[in-house]
């Protein structure tokens, strides 16, 4: 372990002297998060109205008015529970439940804010016409999971660039093999595994530090709402381990440092896009949404969504487990090839 720590310490010193590492780890993601957050701050997610409304016990005049609009399609639901289930399943965009005491309960979906707003408008207009305070806007979000734009891009950019940051540690073993310093280390009275552990440690330290710095910076500079700090830290550690594992696997497959860097960059880009770090892929539904769950980035963002909604530390158990499972899979694939890194 002593040798591994020595190697990690030397690597981190080298990385800190390399300004490009600081740029990739902290400056660029912070700048991009700021830019995207400012650009999209006042822009809604732009969903078109999914004007398939469920209605429970609707008054006949309202049904006639809405059906004749040509814009809104009504689906009769047997009860409020069925209506809520329909919204959660995505079968209907929103639901209006008319109660016997002349109240209207509007059930919306946070991922479709425009649809929810239209449903609310319909309910408000109806209530104004019949008079009184008969509107109850209940639980406008069936799931309060959507991040505000600033937090979304803060978390998205942080986890996107994380995969570039951790490259520096694991790929440096290929640089050292090329430059001859790896052989020099292996001739020293240390175990060969110490070199690998040292390199992994470098990636983990760089990754955790950069993510913590970004979380703090975006919290104070961009008012990003990350949620429970302990939960955020758990997500960060799991995300760093997942990122390091996939980059380490690629390093075992590549023959040269340039090849490793090229493949790692491609992997970071594809996983980042698929994982929804630039736009919420989950909203696309279907195959894309399902495929995004194969990426640690998607699980990281899910965890941040849960924490930002006010859930406690326990809420991140699922995302943390998913990211660690991803890391375990990558590690299992990399282990048989690890000897190639040291040339043995």
């Amino acid at each position: 372990m002593r040798a591994a720590l020595l190697i990690a310490r030397k690597d981190i010193r080298q990385r800190l002297r390399d300004r490009s590492a600081l740029l990739v780890a902290i400056v660029v993601p912070l700048v991009l998060a700021s830019i995207f957050g400012l650009i999209f701050h006042d822009v809604t997610t732009g969903d078109a109205c999914d004007c398939e409304f469920g209605v429970v016990d609707p008054p006949a005049p309202l049904v006639a008015a809405l059906a004749g609009s040509g814009v809104i399609t009504l689906h009769r639901e047997p009860d409020a529970a069925a209506a809520r289930a329909g919204v959660e399943a995505g079968r209907i965009g929103a639901a209006l439940v008319f109660t016997r005491d002349d109240r209207v309960v509007v059930i919306g979906d946070a991922d479709l804010p425009i649809t929810a707003q239209i449903a609310e408008s319909v309910a408000t207009t109806y209530a104004n016409r019949v008079g009184g305070d008969a509107i109850e806007i209940a639980d406008i979000s069936t799931t309060s999971r959507q991040l505000d734009i600033g937090t979304f891009y803060a978390a998205g950019m942080a986890v996107f660039f994380l995969f570039f940051t951790v490259q520096f540690g694991v790929t440096s073993i290929l640089d050292e093999r090329r430059d001859g310093t790896l052989a020099r280390m292996l001739v020293a009275p240390i175990r060969g595994a110490a070199v690998l552990v040292g390199k992994l440690l470098t990636s983990v330290v760089l990754g955790v530090v950069s993510m913590v710095v970004l979380a703090l910076a975006t919290r104070f500079l961009l008012d990003a709402q990350w949620g429970n700090p302990v939960g955020v830290l758990l997500l960060i550690v799991a995300g760093v381990i997942a990122a390091t594992s996939v980059m380490a696997l690629i390093a075992t497959l590549a023959k040269t440092p340039d090849q490793a860097q090229s493949w790692q960059s491609m992997a970071a880009l594809i996983l980042g896009m698929l994982g929804g770090t630039f736009f919420p892929v989950a909203q696309a539904g279907g195959v894309l949404a399902a495929a995004s769950l194969a990426t640690p980035q998607a699980w990281f963002l899910r965890g941040v969504e849960d924490l930002a909604a006010g859930d406690g530390v326990g809420a991140v158990a699922g995302p943390v487990f998913a990211m660690l499972a991803f890391a375990a899979l990558m590690t299992a694939l990399a282990l048989p090839r690890v000897g190639r890194l040291t040339g043995r």
Binding site: L6, T181, R184, L186
Partner: protein, 311 residues
Amino acid sequence: MTVLECRDLQKRFGRIEAVRGISLTIAEGETYGLLGPNGAGKTTTISMVCGLLEPDAGSVVVAGQPLTTRSVEPKAAIGYVPQELAIYPDLNARENLRFFARLYGLAGAQAEARIAEVLEVIGLTDRARELTNTYSGGMQRRLNIGIGLLHRPRLLILDEPTVGVDPQSRNAILESVEQLAGEGMAVLYTTHYMEEAERLCDRIGIVDMGELKAEGTRAELVARVGEHDRVRLAGSGALDAAAAACEALPAVQTASVTDGSLDLIVDGARGLLPELLAVATAAGAAVKSVEVEEPDLEAVFLQLTGRALRD
């Protein structure tokens, strides 16, 4: 005391037999040269001795301990100076030395004292805090060697340390090796430069095609193949008579006249020259120039392998 013992080392890469049964020993304070052309198997042999490569067969024992790629303790006795520069360009000399010193178990004040000492030996004390990517090639080479010396190894292995080096730096490197050998360090030195082997090494192993063709001191190797000195007397006059007269001398093996020169094969040319000149002149030859080729390792290599050392 034996510091290094290699027995029947073998290594194959696919169909290529890079090392075929090399055995050698090096005693404390001895400088042993592995002399051979590029591709002879020197670096592969070194890699097995250092524990970088696992031999397919054979064994390596360093300071009495068996050494494999998984060994830890025996490696503490080895100092390794690779052929290519193996230093960190984005660290300064002191940081480079400190890192490797700590890998070898030196710490604290002991490490700092030794680093200062090595910096003095390699002449980089004044530049110790500058990044090594600002150094000249010669300075980088000196640091490359200095790292190998940090932990006072019992066996210093230098793999062609002067390849691509300017003459001044090369001479400095050779002087350093001579000094270290004089201090009692065992040295394994690989080279394809005959003159380096002749200058530095107590014993020389001639390697070609993965095999140790011959081994011994310079004198033993030269005597082993029975080479004689070649003497060429260029001139005019009665060269045939001079040839006959010279051939009558006991130390002269053969004498012939070729293109206006008298070519002789003799034993001990340096001591025989005055007599040869006197006899040739007395026989009627007018000698204008003298060339003497003493047997050397190049000739030994040629005799053993049929190829020149630098082919």
